[in-house]
């Protein structure tokens, strides 16, 4: 057993990481589905979208060959509507509430139709938005992730000049660095960021990290307002013996490397255990398998009823051949010569509900042992508590505290997205960016 890179041929990598979202083959194919849409009034799909995309309207626009209008309807509500159509857990959002579900009929493939319109807009670089003349105000946005880009786009449309400071070398945040490559390709992420910034008035400066190359007081001094969309950081520690062994990986790091270094360069074990069962855990497990691991086991301390992942996601992992062990919580990682050899888990049972309303796992006293050479931690991410503290921002366990106007305790400093909510969907971050932009516009106009 060992951790190795370069396990597969280029053709195998290509196949394993190709886009799982094939587009409609033709206009006619899209129309078959678009024409099924009932054009509901006060539509449940729209109400279930955090950015309130007018779904019936954009689908109707596809049926009338007004694809440009359709793309505008989507992107006006959600500037990352292209990426969201690939990464949103639509089964619990728009498609999950499609009225066809109530007839036991398949829902309208809203995400696929959304891809149809937005991919055309992005590929053809349609200039759907126009900036208002500059109003002579400047805003700094920290983080070019979904929240920051959405905030910047909304501000720039209103004539505000925006500078985004991004610590990585590419924009897109978790869309670019934190999601399985087969769900949204790196190429698409770059095109999407380019599409957003093509509006003008948005300058992204890469390689700039808050607390290292830039500071909040400097930004406050140079700009009329600051928006923090800094996201969340590394994976939560397991706090168990053996966590320091070689072969224990952070899922975010693992996913990041796959996207940044290229598939053949990323080492993966023969037998891999993934801890947790959120979207990130699924992305790590499926990609470990797709990189060539012979056995991948997802370990989750509760049952399917409590899992944060959707059933669609879980099925992706199952189809990739990942094993699942329910009601198991890591107790200890054992190793030889500093390398992981075993994961020992407590066998759990469900007790009384906790604050999340889900039943808490309780130890039974029994254990199980898995022979593994790699352990990937995907039990949630931790906010940048130290960074937030240093900047005297009020916070809750590291999550930046804001009021209903997206304002932090520091006047002129706004925040939104994962750094505030602790980590939700891309679509939630896009809405947070829109809300932030609205609050900032009010703020700079009332100054």
């Amino acid at each position: 057993m060992s951790i190795l890179n370069n396990r597969l041929t280029n053709e195998q990598y290509e196949q394993n990481f190709s886009d799982i979202h094939p587009p409609f083959d033709s206009r006619e194919a899209a129309l078959v589905e678009a024409n099924r849409c009932l054009f509901c009034y006060d539509a449940p799909c729209t109400k279930s979208c955090p950015t309130s995309i007018d779904v019936p309207k954009f689908i109707k626009q596809i049926t009338t060959d007004n694809v440009k209008g359709s793309a505008f309807t989507i992107l006006d509500a959600n500037i990352m509507g292209g990426g969201c159509s690939k990464v949103c857990p639509v089964e619990k959002l728009c498609e999950g509430s499609c009225v066809f579900n109530l007839m036991d009929e398949p829902p309208i493939p809203i995400a696929k139709l959304q891809r149809y319109s937005t991919e055309k807009a992005i590929a053809n670089k349609w200039p759907l938005f126009q900036r208002k003349p500059s109003v002579g105000r400047k805003v700094a946005v920290v983080g070019a992730g979904p929240a920051g880009l959405s905030c910047a786009h909304a501000l720039s449309r209103e004539g505000v000049d925006v500078t985004i400071y991004e610590k990585e070398s590419k924009g897109g945040g978790l869309m670019t660095y934190g999601i399985a490559a087969y769900k949204v390709t790196p190429e698409f992420c770059e095109e999407e960021v380019e599409f957003i910034t093509s509006l003008g008035g948005i300058d992204i400066i890469y390689g700039q990290e808050l607390g290292r190359t830039i500071s909040l007081p400097e930004l406050q001094a140079s700009y009329d307002a600051v928006y923090l969309g800094i996201g969340v950081g590394v994976a939560r520690q397991l706090d168990i013996p053996g966590e320091e062994l070689t072969g224990v990986e952070d899922a975010i790091r693992f996913i990041y490397d796959i996207r940044e270094l290229g598939y053949p360069s990323v080492p993966v074990g023969d037998k891999v255990a993934v801890i947790g069962l959120g979207m990130t855990a699924i992305d790590a497990a499926t990609q470990a398998k797709r990189l060539g691991a012979s056995e991948v086991t997802i370990v989750y301390r509760r049952t399917q009823a409590e899992m944060p992942s959707t059933e669609v996601e879980l099925n992706l992992a199952k189809l990739d051949g990942c094993n699942l062990i329910w009601l198991a919580s890591p107790k200890e990682i054992k190793g030889e010569n500093g390398r992981v050899t075993q994961l020992i888990c407590n066998v759990m049972e469900l007790g009384v509900p906790d604050t999340s309303g889900r039943r808490s796992p309780v130890e039974t006293g029994k254990t199980i042992t898995l022979d593994v050479d790699m352990v990937i931690k995907a039990a949630g991410q931790v906010p940048y508590e130290a960074l937030v503290n240093t900047n005297q921002l009020t916070h809750w366990n590291g999550k930046v505290a804001i009021d209903s106007y997206c304002t932090t305790n520091i006047p002129g400093v706004f925040a939104g997205g994962d750094c505030v909510n602790g980590g939700k969907e891309v679509v939630d971050a896009v809405q947070a960016g829109k809300d932030g932009a609205k609050a900032i516009l009010n703020f700079i106009q009332s100054e």
């Binding site: 024409n35 509901c40 006060d42 109400k47 009225v99 109530l102």
Partner: protein
């Protein structure tokens, strides 16, 4: 098993499904395939002086993804030599003696030409003639087709010429491109026709190409009005058919129903409104001759369910139910009811009623599903909500009479009853 055999003016066919005079019946190859598929009869594509057709002849209307909901053609009568047509007709009659063979005719505008053509066709052994007074394009400019059908006097004269010569049954086909089909229908009956058929196609432009700016079908940068048919015209055909079925003069002759018949259900509707059989074209041009299988089977099952043994048991059964508006019962009142167990919360009933009708549906906000309920006191029973509802029998109209007795508009006025309860 019901008996589907039809007898139209003595022309017998195993079922009442004929193919209309059109491209599918213009040669032996197609007609034999149709007979093999099970069609009861054909009306051979119109014969007359041989013509030349243009290329690019059809165009269609697509609605919400349904292709050829309406169909349009600019073809003329048969463009094949008369002698070949006659030979092939004789061959088809010989090979399928149990099927109806009617030949459509449009002779040049003289008694002699008509007589000559009739004699030639009768020699083939065909069972009947159909006079094409309906073709709306191309032929009218030559004083034929609809130009005849639009003028009752001329129609009567031509029918009289035909009746002088014909020894087999004669059907006169009426054009719908008139304010009423009844005057020409009457004139034709007075001229001696044995039967009528309707409708021919309706003059139309199916659409304009938004890139070339030329209407369809595109013929080298130009287009012409075409003849419209297919499912879109069925309601118009049914209405015209009923006016013929109710007129005291035309009601005496059998009618062959034409216009958007695609299924056994359509056929039953035409027959309930007075057609003795039906003629089909667009549906086979879209799907091929095989659709006749379900037409036969579906009508058979329906007749068994209703207890009808022969076609005559239901032909014309619905004709008396079409009345004058003044005779409708004003005391009849219905109110919509939404079955909340079946409702899928699409809101289509609500927005239709709220924006365009009587604001009779209330909305209770829910996330993501709103609840919709009927305000019974406001509902006039217009049916709109039931029509837009995508779920079968989710919205039903419940009878809540305003009074026990039958009360029509004339009586309502005579009594001076109050108007406008809304």
């Amino acid at each position: 098993m019901a008996d589907l055999s039809a007898n139209f003016l003595g022309i017998k066919s195993p079922n009442p499904f004929w193919l209309a005079s059109a491209p599918p019946t213009d040669k032996q190859y197609n007609v034999l395939r149709a007979f093999e598929a099970g069609w009861g009869g054909v009306v051979w594509k119109t014969l007359g002086s041989q013509v030349k057709n243009v290329s690019s002849r059809y165009s269609a209307v697509e609605f919400n993804g349904t292709k050829m909901m309406g169909f349009n053609n600019i073809e003329l009568i048969s463009d094949r030599p008369l002698d070949i047509n006659l030979r092939e007709i004789a061959e088809c009659v010989r090979l399928f003696p149990d099927r109806a063979m009617v030949v459509s005719l449009m002779a040049d505008n003289s008694r002699e030409k008509w007589h000559e053509l009739i004699a030639q066709v009768e020699d083939t052994g065909a069972h009947g003639l159909e006079l094409n007074f309906g073709c709306p394009h191309g032929m009218t400019e030559r004083g034929m087709g609809a130009a005849v059908g639009q003028d009752p006097e001329i129609a009567k004269m031509v029918v009289e010429w035909v009746m002088e010569k014909a020894t087999i049954p004669v059907i006169t086909k009426l054009t719908p491109n008139v304010h009423s089909v009844v005057p020409t229908g009457r004139a034709s009956v007075e001229g001696g026709t044995h039967a009528l058929s309707l409708i021919n196609t309706i003059q139309s432009i199916t659409g304009v190409d938004l890139d070339t700016f030329v209407p369809n079908p595109y013929v080298a940068g130009k287009s012409v009005y075409g003849g419209y048919c297919g499912p879109a015209v069925k309601p118009i055909a049914l209405k015209m058919l009923t006016t013929i079925a109710q007129d005291p003069v035309t009601a005496h002759v059998p009618v062959s129903g034409i216009g958007g018949v695609s299924t056994w259900k359509d056929a039953v509707e035409f027959m309930l409104l007075g057609a003795s059989n039906v003629q089909v074209c667009t549906a086979v041009m879209k799907h091929g001759f095989r659709i006749v299988e379900d037409m036969i089977d579906g009508m058979n099952n329906w007749m068994d369910e209703k207890g009808f043994k022969t076609l005559d048991d239901f032909i014309g059964k619905s004709v008396p139910t079409i009345t004058h508006w003044e005779d409708l019962d004003i005391n009849y009142h219905i109110v919509a009811n939404i079955d909340q167990d079946k409702c899928i919360h699409c809101g289509l009933c609500y927005i239709a009623c709220e924006d365009t009708s009587h604001q009779s549906i209330s909305l209770t906000y829910g996330n993501p599903y709103n609840t919709y309920s009927i305000k019974e006191d406001e509902c006039v029973g217009c049916n709109l909500c039931k029509l837009v509802c995508p779920v079968d029998s989710c919205i039903t109209m419940v009878e809540q009479r305003k009074g026990d007795e039958y009360l029509n508009w004339k009586e309502f006025q005579r009594r001076g009853l109050p108007l406008n309860d809304h």
